[in-house]
Symmetry: C2
Subunit: 157 residues, 2 copies
DNA sequence: CACTAAACATTAGATGTCAAAGGCTATTAT
DNA sequence: ATAATAGCCTTTGACATCTAATGTTTAGTG
């Protein structure tokens, strides 16, 4: 019809995410890294994952994908992996000094990027954005039942 | 001094986008399609792209990626490609009857998904969301607005 | 103890994406 | 006309990612 329905919100979201994450990747590349490398380093530093499954979950990717990145990062000398002597199923991941260096450089780039990204947008609006994004995620997640997700969504934990 | 650990807005965006687009892909798969196939069909129907470059731009992917999908879709009998007799550089893309059928089925799935996605969120907030998403994209786009100082002053574009 | 189940991780195969390089076709300049 | 340039598309090579299948090690059970 003349006025097609409001443009699909999912499409707007996907497009914006593509633009932003592309720009972020460029910023990290300029600092000698990449998005997955940054996420792995960040998760290693901010959490203390006991095993790769937890690390993968923190990063937001599958274990198989994580294995891939850890292999590459180990080959670059950013980290080491050894079997845990107490439980030889577990691979203990540890940053090397070079890994720490890269972490610091990428953190600088990430902080700078975040400032650029939110430039000129009031904090209140960013909170609103966060709230709506969580609501959208909840709307399409497994529990497709009703909309009891009132108030503060609470962090998934 | 210690910067408040506001979680990076880009990360929230990326996570939400991943969840939503994953769910959308599932919905399309249940209807016998996929995200790229749906976007190609939609762009073919709503615009009248003169050539593949325009189609790729409408879909939001590179020409090389589009070639890949068109090959697959032609192999499935969803569309045909012929050289334009008036300009033999151009490949004219046309939907087959089967392509039309798939379009209708995927459209139903997409409409249903959009309703689920926006369920319970007031229109006003969705407009706000759209506005902020566009602002975020603009903030990191090529136009390197070097200094974000000057407050909410002139927003380029 | 032997068997089975669970936990942890890797490998294999598929898809979707991009950048760079190449191959036709048409247009323009000489 | 012939050569140079531009436009349109495909091919190639490289990633990141997922799912499914496979190993490897530990824990549980009769």
């Amino acid at each position: 019809m003349a006025a097609p329905p409001r443009s699909p919100i999912g499409l707007q979201l996907a497009r914006a995410s593509k633009v932003v994450s592309g720009a972020f990747d460029d910023a990290l590349a300029a600092a000698g890294g990449s998005l997955p490398v940054w996420l792995v380093l960040l998760s290693l530093k901010t959490r203390q994952p006991d095993n790769q499954r937890e690390l993968a979950e923190a990063v937001g990717i599958q274990e198989a994908t994580l294995t891939h990145h850890l292999n590459a990062m180990a080959a670059q000398g950013l980290l080491t992996r050894e079997r845990d002597p107490a439980n030889r199923r577990v691979h203990q991941v540890r940053l090397t000094g070079r890994g720490e260096d890269v972490f610091l450089r990428l953190r600088t780039a990430a902080v700078e990027f975040d400032r650029r990204l939110r430039g000129g947008i009031p904090d209140g609006e960013l909170e609103e954005l966060d709230r709506i994004l969580q609501r959208l995620s909840a709307n399409v997640s497994e529990q497709a039942n009703d909309t009891e997700q009132g108030g503060a969504g609470g962090l998934p934990r």
